[in-house]
Amino acid sequence: MKYALKKTATMIITLFFVSVLVFFSFSLIPGNPAISKLGTEATPERIEALSHEMGLDKPVTQRFTEWIFGVIRGDFGKSYSYSQSVTSLLSDKIKTTLLLSFMAIIICTVISIPLGIFMARKSDSKLDIALSTINQIIMAVPSFFSGIILTLIFGVAFKLFTPGAYVSYKTNLLGCLGYLFFPALAIALPKISMVSKLLKDTVLKESEKEYVRTAYSRGNRTKAVFYGHVLGNALIPVITFMGMTFADIIAGSIIVEQVFSVPGLGRILLSSISGRDYPVIEAIILLLAFFVVLSNLIVDLLYHKFDPRIHV
């Protein structure tokens, strides 16, 4: 419990750091956003009026305090390019991206753990060598290319989904999940290879440890030694790795959303970057940071539960 509190505190501090960094980097960019919005031909009066409306005439520190208190309430300010609040602009897109990331995480976990166990148990057999070789290659395929290949195979050849025809979770949840399965798989594929390889390696390493001999000396069957003793220890480094992987998956969804035309945070982030819509960019970065840090926190707590040796 104490550990959880401490970790949560660290998480809040990290997020505060990130928000300071993000806000001030975007505030210090030369150029007045009001001018870019109105165009260079705008009269000084109009620019001044808009600057006032956007709150740009206030000192930076005051703007920051107002912004951060807004963020705590869930208010990220107003978008420059769309005339609506950032919060309402993003609320659907957050859910889409989270849905996609969750699916990728679930696919990754569900496949990689049994696969790693299987490879370790069949270690050095022809099957293991074949799987390891495939793994090595899949690890080298970037998610956007595996996305294109999946589109070719399942969208174009087998017609299991229509590329580009995303359905919102609001209108048809099942249809949406069915469509998101493929981008989620594209994100998960290289991670599956990495996690299963790591698990195989740690299982083999743990199998050499002395406590395994003790377990055999008590009359355990091979299976009982494996599931009762080796696996738990082998999973500890895998959990740490998966924490980092989840962060990668969340970032990876930004790219893969583009491949499958999924209207999530990634797509609006890209259009906001080209449109210099700073409040939207700031909000997305902070949100993604929040998800990354939160997933790290969850993994840390899991890790703590798995490995009693970690102290506060």
């Binding site: 290319f145 589109t151 970032a251 970065i285």
Partner: protein, 264 residues
């Protein structure tokens, strides 16, 4: 070295050799001008004239891939250089001197490391716009923390060795200890992180240019070729396959080589 490792090393080395060759061809001369459009060859298939076919504007894909490899490799080299240079400077200073500077820089490092590099690069590009040099700066900055952390860990280890303590007792200056005794010892760890750095840089560059945040068109880049080819995926899937496979081969080469260097 056991047999699988040897095999990995040989394959990895051959692939990196091939990449180097492609880079050189990309620099010296490609079969066609990568930007020359041939109206008659639009989306042409594989032929002797165009071994990889042509894209939607009738540009030779092989030539574009070669220039794309050159572009990716040069950008990755710059990115890795920035990462290694600043990472080594930061890591050596913080690792060697420790203290409050170390504390602050490493906390900052941790905060930055929590971000996947593509996301970080997008932030920098959001600040300064897209383009070749912005991309180099963006990815370079994103790469510094991980190098700094590796170097710092290694310096900490070396600093506490007995012979460094002995040299200090003889009155060697900090600068001398760092330059003569510590930096040469970083060779192995730097070599493996440079290879892994290339692996990550190629991946990140391709990803960024796929998102349209890399080299400006019409100059070819592997990532952008993929995203452009996607529009023709129903009729001409081949236009996407070749640049994609080249990216995979590049990453595979570096990861195989990295695997063999890492554990030795």
């Amino acid at each position: 070295m056991d047999r699988t490792k040897k095999l990995k090393f040989i394959i990895g080395l051959s692939i990196t050799g091939l990449i180097a060759l492609m880079t050189i061809i990309g620099i010296v001369k490609t079969p066609y001008d990568p930007c020359a459009m041939d109206g008659a060859a639009k989306l042409a298939g594989i032929s002797l004239k165009h071994p990889f076919g042509c894209d939607q504007f009738g540009r030779d894909i092989l030539s574009r891939v070669l220039v794309g490899v050159r572009e990716t490799m040069l950008i990755s080299a710059c990115v890795v250089f920035i990462g290694v240079f600043f990472g080594t400077v930061l890591g050596t200073i913080t690792g060697y001197f420790g203290g409050w500077l170390d504390e602050i820089l490493m906390r900052l490092n941790d905060a930055v490391l929590a971000f996947p590099s593509v996301l970080l690069a997008l932030v920098v590009i959001g600040l300064y716009g897209s383009g070749r040099y912005q991309l180099i700066a963006a990815l370079g900055i994103a790469f510094v923390p991980s190098f700094a952390r590796i170097v710092r860990g290694e310096v900490l280890k070396i600093r506490n060795l007995d012979y460094i303590q002995a040299v200090r007792l003889y009155g060697a200056s900090h600068l001398r200890i760092i330059v003569v005794h510590i930096l040469p010892n970083l060779k192995t760890v730097l070599l493996s992180s440079i290879i892994i750095g290339f692996n990550n840089a190629v991946l990140a560059e391709a990803g960024m240019s796929y998102l349209g945040m890399g080299v400006a068109p019409p100059a070819p880049s592997l990532g952008r070729m993929l995203s452009e080819a996607q529009a023709y995926i129903f009729s001409n899937p081949l236009t996407a396959i070749f640049p994609g496979i080249v990216i995979v081969i590049m990453i595979l080469g570096f990861s195989l080589l990295g695997d063999t260097v890492k554990k030795n």
